[in-house]
Symmetry: C2
Subunit: 188 residues, 2 copies
DNA sequence: GTCTATAAATCGATAGAC
DNA sequence: GTCTATCGATTTATAGAC
């Protein structure tokens, strides 16, 4: 089989893993679940990934690329406060999915921390890059407490996502999103 | 064996479960892990709990009682804003444990959501009672947006706990705790 | 390269001796 | 009531046919 086809199957597995791991969690998800979602025979998974951990790592990488692509579209907006508010609105738009399964990045970080392997460091890297970008926006707004504000914004979202998921209440994310937009306006 | 002794062993198992489930997560924790921590033979666990789920539920109840006892001590403080700030300081004091394993309630809520069983509703109840109490404090401060403020405070803490855990950085919780104390002062 | 069959390990749960 | 031994189901991972 050609390299392009092999890459396609690898990516299909990684992409399906992102979705299924978000829905079911890492521990509850079997390789059979991911293989089925990717329409690949179970035993064949091991040709592309030596262990389950390597497949999870590929899913983290795929998720990181999705996040980078989102940030890239935000970069097109001229003002940093508009970029941050657009990020917020994107999170609010995902409220139904968040109510069902939580924030993909946050629940992954929480779950991978409990595993002995080093996969939690990979998610921490994804989270760190997002935090850096948010801090960069606050810095562009002339704030010298940019990092602290970035932590506050990201924490507010992560916590809101957790409560939205816990109470299965998408409206909670809407209310919190509006409040955070007003907060950003006061900082400009 | 007497009822009191039996109750003692049941409680020892539930108490050990609270600790071990926080450290290792629900899925990674085996009944053997909990039995060892409680100094009870593995097979004997099933005399006290018919299934693993029932043991997890007992752990949630035990955790709920710990939280209620904490809230009861806060009730002794005269002013509602002092009660909230004391709650915050308690969270900050737990920062090292949080950096290692996250917030016990939050990580439990996140993990149990991914399981098919109904245990996530039990944690949601614990979280709801805490949220109600916080909202009650804001209401006593004369705020008619008490519920929204309570969601904001609890979400800020849950998000800060998640980031503290993800980055393994207790200082993050300290900084965020100070910021939230200042925020409460502006609302009084 | 692809897939089936199965080994190997883990863990929840039960049977039954004491 | 307490504990050991073990079953049965699930899941990761591998061997090997095609």
């Amino acid at each position: 089989m050609t390299d392009s086809k092999r890459a396609g199957k690898r990516e299909r597995l990684a992409g399906a893993a992102v979705r299924v791991l978000h829905e079911q969690g890492v521990e509850k998800t079997t390789l059979a679940d991911i293989a089925r979602a990717a329409d690949v025979p179970v035993g064949n998974v091991y040709y592309y990934f030596k262990t389950k951990d390597q497949l999870v790592e590929a899913a983290i990488d795929a998720h990181a690329r999705e996040l980078e692509s989102l940030v890239a579209t935000l970069e097109r907006l001229p003002a940093p406060q508009e970029r941050l508010k657009a990020l917020l609105r994107g999170w609010v738009e995902q409220r139904d999915l968040t109510a069902r399964h939580g924030c993909p990045t946050g629940s992954l970080a929480s779950e991978l921390d409990k595993r002995g392997d080093g996969l939690d460091r990979a998610v921490a890297g994804v989270m760190a890059r997002l935090l850096d970008w948010v801090a960069g926006q606050f810095a562009a707004m002339g704030r010298d407490d940019a990092r602290e504000l970035a932590v506050a914004l990201l924490a507010a979202y992560q916590g809101a996502a957790l409560l939205t998921n816990t109470f299965r209440d998408p409206a909670l994310m809407e209310t919190e999103g509006r409040r955070l937009e007003r907060w950003i306006d006061t900082l400009a």
